[in-house]
Amino acid sequence: MDWDDLGLKMGLEIHQQLNTETKLFCPCATELIDERFDNEIKRGLRPTQSELGQIDRAAFQESMRKLKFNYEAYNHRTCLVETDDEPPHDLNEEALDLAITIASLLNMHIIDEVHTMRKQVIDGSNTGGFQRTSLVATDGYLETPQGKVAIENLCLEEDACRRIATENDFTHFRLDRLGIPLVEITTDPSIHHPEQVKEVAYVLGQILRSTNVKRGLGTIRQDLNISIAKGSRVELKGVQNLDLIPEMVELEVQRQLNLLNIQEELKSRDARVLDDIHDLDEIFKNTSSKILSTAQSIKGIVLKGFKGLVGLEIQKGRRFGTELSSYAKKREVSGIFHTDELPAYGISQEETESMRSYLNADEDDTIVIVAHDEDIAISALEEVIRRANMAFDGVPEETRKALEDGTSEFMRPLPTANRMYLETDIPLFKIDKNKIINIRNNLPELPEEKKNRIIDEYSLSEDLAKQLVKKLHADEFEIIMKEIDVDSTLVASFLAYNLREIKREGIVIKHINPKDLIATFKLLSAEKISKDAITDIIKEIAINKEAIEQQFNEKENGFIKYVDKDIDNNIDPEQIAKSLDLLLLGENDVENIIIEIVNNNSSMIKEREMGAIGPLMGISMKKLKGKADGKLVNKILKEEIKKLLN
């Protein structure tokens, strides 16, 4: 496709969780909790009538029915701020400083005085019915290999609750994620090439990771805005895989082009959407279709002149009918049937025919039917009518959920005017000029700079340095190197590769800290262990620490067991090496063991003379299992054999 010709425009919106001590407006920790909750709080949210436009009691009731939520709370790890009882505490300054740091790395201008806003969100993901957010910086830019990209805004906001499950009456949310600080970074919509979007996302990610942000699944979320000249702006939410971005763009452009073709075709056919919703129970009263026969009511509409278009594929695996269906699904039906794909699903040719004649629909028309409880079927078809009418305008502005295969699914219309108003519970925060200067003077090193510097400073290979930076072990590496006198490549490759192998064995390594590594490497430089023993020692430390952690989390009768959690002071790598029998033996001990081996094999030595070194070396090393240096063993062995032969 010729992107320039199509007038392709894209923008990125990135949400990144910050790794602060506490949440944005309360003192709770910023960690997710996977234990069983202590309390469940039932709440409703109430849109104000003005937001729904005119008072339509039915629509209002309908919206209220869905706004029931269960919030999973913890006695000690969540608090009354998260349940929306206690007013928010002051803005977390650590988070603000981090936001300013990131904004500075993106060459942005910091706002003089930050005002926290409430952005209305009534899907339950925020207990208050709004997300707190504030604009911290504007007008920056980012250098990418394909040129400069303008960064429009950086906002500091609170993350939403974690959605756990959806039942008929309630959506279950967990409070653990609510309030974790996020930065939201938006580029301007002027990126014109799919590969460049991917590049921008990658570079932004690298910059973010050079600061104190959360790492791991779900801690960074990307949304992609796409439009083509004749199409409309569509937001693809939750893009997980950066490599998929170019394909995703292509698929969306294809979808928009197909919708434009449908628009043109509909106009040339003089097609129309008929508003009447018809009762079809009579026609299907003896149907052999299971879905239809079990439904309380069957309703249908006629799309004049739509034949063939509803079944038309507009994106791989998704037809125009899928779009109609995804609107209907917002009214709780599982799907729609349409005559472009009938007879099928147990609906017979005769039934299709009699439906056509009953509805006065001719061959050029498409009939859409929904089978469900009467009121639900009607409201689902109203949605189908609404979406079918939009086809005459081409591409509707939508927020769509990015799917794993690169396609997308309708979520909701794009939010129109932001319903934002001041969060009056939080004082305005004036940003001191000295704060900005101080932060700018202490900006973290960007990944590329860091890589080049550690190559120079520690004479590492390009590959090792790259791995350290990419896997975020560079800081640990430098901390360790400051304390010990060990070959830098050994330390670097331990961090870059061995640690990952330990993790692959299923061992929890998150408790391993530089202190453990320093103490272990010090055993090496003191020649108390061999370098082969390092992995085993670290593995054992990790296992011990996790066991203590587990014990600490265990509860007895609802009370946490008392455990001394001061793990670091309880763990001594030398003790561990000893318990694993990995301490190197002294020269005398080695000598005694070898003398014994030599004596036990005296006949073989006499037979083979110096040729016995090979087999005896094997026997010795096996016996000494990494507790003695090979060179030393070899030296002593030679001497003892000579002694015996003499």
Partner: protein, 436 residues
């Protein structure tokens, strides 16, 4: 406009006022947006813009240039009227608003929260109430509840009495939560009523979708339709948006700064529980039934009454000050079973001699007084201190104001204080009366 000197001059120079669309240049960047008002307590030298993505920002005006893009008008909120058709089958319930956060509407353009004053406004935000009853709304005050005064209680009681005379089937009073339990006690003593009088409010303001106002209002209307013809408080029973507890107006207290279920019955259980605007369960039959009493208003109050809380280190000055200032009654929050240090006894005696009524309650909040167990208590009784029984300090204070309004004679006052008037005194302390 709340802009102060520097910012005001800056705006005046360019003839810019709130609501105007402006461009502000600061060095190499510029911001376009609508000029908003600034809160009074914020620092001078800054202006507030709402920029087009909806965010508010504060801009320091040193080295800034401002330019008018388009004149705007200060936004005003106007609502369409809701047409209310009365249904003769339904009860007529009156909602009297005294202020607080029971209903307010947000203006998204400026972010200002406007209190709702008319029936139509309140019903627009809470239209389901019309399914329960014919609703009329009267705005009496718009005050924060910490600014309540005994004279406002009197006016509220009078208005309620008028409406009951006019034939309403029940009254709901919308009130700020901070002093709601004082008002509920005051109305309990001032009014005998054939119909329910239910006081309610909100802990979380109605401009937020998570407000507790709606559930409280709906169940209060339910309670106002019920057979429980007492002055009650109807608020969230738990942290859930599921049901409300109906508390006796003299036995209720705000017990938490921020939780929705802050109101708790003290030395009592809630009378009933309301769910979806209907009675869902009842704890006791011991309540005044609808139409069992004639309307009676006794609205004389003595406002020269003070509360003194004792503490280790208190001195006689506190008592003497109030005697010197001509106070007519003192409510003492004593320790434990009803004590103050024995060196205070002379000051108490003097107050008694000057015909000042002194009522004792306990700062324990829960439990009843017994001033006979320790000698200090007996000495206080002998000095003329009246035991407040198991009344909360707040209820006892209000009752003392009311008792002094009924009579200046200390014997009469003692009689009133120690006689149960509106369910405020329990003889019996149930196991169930603590921390519920």
């Amino acid at each position: 406009m709340a802009y102060k000197k520097i910012a005001q001059d800056f705006l005046n120079k360019s003839n810019i006022s709130i609501g105007d669309l402006v461009k502000v240049e600061k060095g190499e960047i510029q911001y376009n947006g609508i000029l908003l008002d600034r809160s009074e307590d914020a620092e001078d030298n800054h202006i507030v813009l709402k920029i087009d993505n909806g965010y508010n920002i504060g801009l320091n005006i040193s080295n800034a240039k401002i330019e008018l893009i388009k004149k705007g008008s200060k936004p005003e909120i106007k609502y369409d009227n809701v047409e209310i058709v009365n249904d003769p089958e339904k009860d007529n319930i009156l909602i009297i608003s005294t202020g607080g956060t029971v209903s307010s509407i947000i203006d998204y353009k400026t972010g200002a929260v406007h209190p709702v004053f008319t029936a139509s406004d309140l019903l627009k935000a809470n239209s389901e109430l019309l399914d329960l009853a014919n609703i009329d709304v009267k705005a009496l005050y718009n005050i924060l509840s910490e600014n309540m005064k005994p004279e406002y209680w009197v006016n509220t009681a009078k208005s309620i009495a008028d409406e009951i005379n006019n034939g309403v089937d029940g009254v709901v009073v919308a009130h700020g939560t901070d002093t709601m339990h004082y008002t509920s006690a005051a109305l309990s003593f001032m009014l005998e009523s054939p119909v329910p009088i239910v006081i309610t409010g909100a802990q979380r303001s109605s401009d937020r979708p998570s407000t507790d106002a709606f559930l409280n209002l709906m169940n209060s209307v339910g309670a106002a339709k019920s057979n429980i013809a007492e002055v009650t408080v109807c608020m969230h029973g738990t942290l859930d948006d599921v049901y409300c507890d109906l508390h006796r107006g003299t036995k209720v207290r705000k017990m938490h700064t921020s939780r929705r279920d802050t109101f708790r019955s003290i030395d009592n259980e809630p009378i009933a529980r309301f769910k979806n605007g209907e009675l869902s369960s009842i704890n006791t039959n011991n309540y005044t039934k609808r139409n069992s009493k004639e309307l009676k208003l006794s609205d004389n109050l003595e406002s020269k009454v003070a509360i003194i809380k004792t503490f280790p280190g208190i001195t006689e000055e506190l008592i003497n000050y109030h005697v010197d200032k001509g106070y007519k009654g003192l409510l003492i929050e004593g320790t434990g079973l009803g004590h103050i240090p024995d060196y205070m006894l002379n000051a108490i005696k003097r107050a008694n001699e000057e015909n000042i009524a002194i009522v004792m309650t306990s700062q324990c909040i829960y439990g009843t007084l017994n001033m006979n167990v320790y000698s200090t208590g007996r000495k206080l009784l002998n000095a003329g201190v009246i035991s407040g029984g198991d009344m909360t300090p707040e209820t006892a204070y209000v009752k003392l104001c009311w008792a002094l309004g009924q009579s200046e004679n200390l014997n009469d006052v003692t009689n009133i204080i120690t006689t149960n008037i509106a369910g405020e005194l329990n003889e019996k302390s149930s196991l169930k009366y603590f921390l519920n």
